[in-house]
Amino acid sequence: MDSFSQHTVINCQDLSIGYQNKKKVAVIASAVGFSVTQGTLVALVGSNGIGKSTLLKTLTAMLPTVSGSLQIDAKEITAYSSLELSSKLSVVLTEAPASKNLTVQELVSLGRQPHTNWMGKLTQNDKDIIQQALEDTDLDSLKNKNCFELSDGQLQRVYIARALAQDTPLIILDEPTTHLDLYHRAAIVKLLKKLTVEKNKTILFSTHEIDLAIQISDKMLVMTPQNIVFDSPSTLIKQGAFDVLFPKEIVVFDKNTGRFSVT
C-alpha cells in the first residue's frame, strides 16, 4: 500500500486496552500495534467476547487506554477535548437512539451539533452537508419519515448518514450489519466501501460477517485470544490468521474459497 502518499489516521503502538477502576485493571488485549491510512476500509473481526467492543470503545475514547500510544491524526487521543475529537471521528453504535420519534432529517441534522452554535442553528453550509449525507446514503426520499417507521436496514443507513453529517475523516462503526439479511448486510458494507473510495473517508467497522469482510475490505484486524493481527485480507489468509479465529471442532476456514464451513 502507498502509505506515504496518504497520511496516517489511526496509529497505535504497544497499546493495552481493558477496563480499569481504582481497585484493579483488567487488560483485555496488549501489545496492539497497527496504523490505518486515510481512505481505508478496515474490518475488525473476532469471536464473541474477544474484546472487539473494548477496542472500539478505546478507539472512540469512551474507554481510556490502559497503556501505550493511540494517536488519531498524529495526536494522542488523550490530548483531545471531546469537542475537538468530535470533528475527527464520528461513531455508529449498536445501541438504538433513545428517541425514535425523530424524523430522518432531524436525526441526521443532529450530526452537525459539534459545528453549530448554542442554539444548534443550521447554516446553508450545514444544510448542504446534511443533504449530501442523505443523498450519499440514498435516504432523500425517506427524509421526512419518523425513525420508528423505518426498517432495520434503513435505520442503519440513517445512523451512517448522521456520522457523515458530522463530517469527520474517520468513522467507526460497531457491528453495523447485525439484524440485517444478507442483501442488506452486503448493501451496508458496499456503502461503506463507496464512502472510502469516493469521499476518502477512513472507516473501521466491527463485524461477524467474515466472508463479506474478506471480499470487500482493504485491511482487516483479526482478534484472537493470543494476539491482534492487522493486514490485507489476502495476506491474512496466507498467514492462516483465520484458521485460529475459532476452535476447529465446529467450523473450519477454507483458504481457497475464503469462507468458513461447518465440519
Binding site: S81, A98, T103
Partner: protein, 312 residues
Amino acid sequence: MDVPTLEVFNSIVGSSSKTSWQYIITNYRIPKAITAIIAGGGLAISGLLMQTLFRNPLAGPFVLGLSSGASLGVAILILGAGAISGIFSTFLLGPWSLVVASALGSFLVLLAVLAVTLKVKDTMAILIIGLMFGSLTGALVAVLSYFSDAEQLQQYIFWSFGSLGNQTWQGISILSLCFFVGLLLSIYSAKSLNALLLGENYAKSMGLKVKKNMLLLILATSILAGGITAFVGPIAFIGLAVPHLTRQFIKTSNHFVLIPAVALSGAILMLICDTIAQLPGIVYTLPINAITSLIGAPVVIWLLVRKRKLIF
C-alpha cells in the same frame, strides 16, 4: 361568587362599581390564574426534561419520586418546625424556606434516582426505583406525621391536597422567579437535550459534556418541580401527560420548539383543570390534584391504547 364579565375588566383597570368584586378579582382570581399558568407550564417543562434525561416516556416529576421528595422536604420543615417553638418557627415557615426545602427534597431524590440510573441502564428498573423512592419518602413522612401535633399535621395535609389559590403576590413573584430560572436553564440546555435524544454515548461522541449538562438539567428540573410543588402542593399527571399531548400536535423532537410548546399546553391544561375545579354554580372548589388526575390518567391510557406504545 359570580362576577359579571364586564366587571372583571373594570376591576383589572381599577374602575369596578363594587369594591368587593375588585378585591376578589385582584387578590384572589388573578393570582390564582397566574399560579395556574406558571404551575402548569413549569410542571410540563420539568416532565419533558425528565423524559429526555431518563430516556423514558413515563418519566415525570410525580412518577420518579420528585414530588415525594418535595413532600418530604416540606414535611420535615412543617412537621419538624413543631419541635422548635416560638418566633423561630414562624421565620422557618416563610415562603422562601418552603421553596428551599421543597426544591432541596426533589433535588436530592432526583440526584439519587439519576445515580442509580447511571448504574442501571434498564428503563423499567428506573421507574421501579423511582416508585421505591416515592414509597420511602412517603414512609418517612408518615413517621413524621405520627409524631407531630394536629395543627401541624393539618397544615401539611392541606398543602398535600394541592391548591392554586391563596397565593400572595410575594409568593407569586418567588414562583415566577423559579419558573423563569427553570425555563432559561431548559432553553440553554435545549441543544444538549436534542443530542441526548440519541443517547448518552452518541451525545458524548458529538462533543457534549454529558455530566455537566445532566447536572444542569437536574438543577432545572428540581427548581421547576420543587419550587412549584412548594407553593401548590404535589400536582399529579401534568408533568407526565402534557409532553405526550403536545407531541400529538407538534411533529418535531426539537426541544427549542418543544419547550415553549409544552409550557403553553401545560398552562392551558392547568387553567382548564382549575376552571373545572370551580365551575360556576358549584359552591365547593374541588382539590386541583383530583382534577388533574381525573384528566391526566385517561389521557395516558388513551395514548397507550391508541398507539400501543408511548414514544418520545
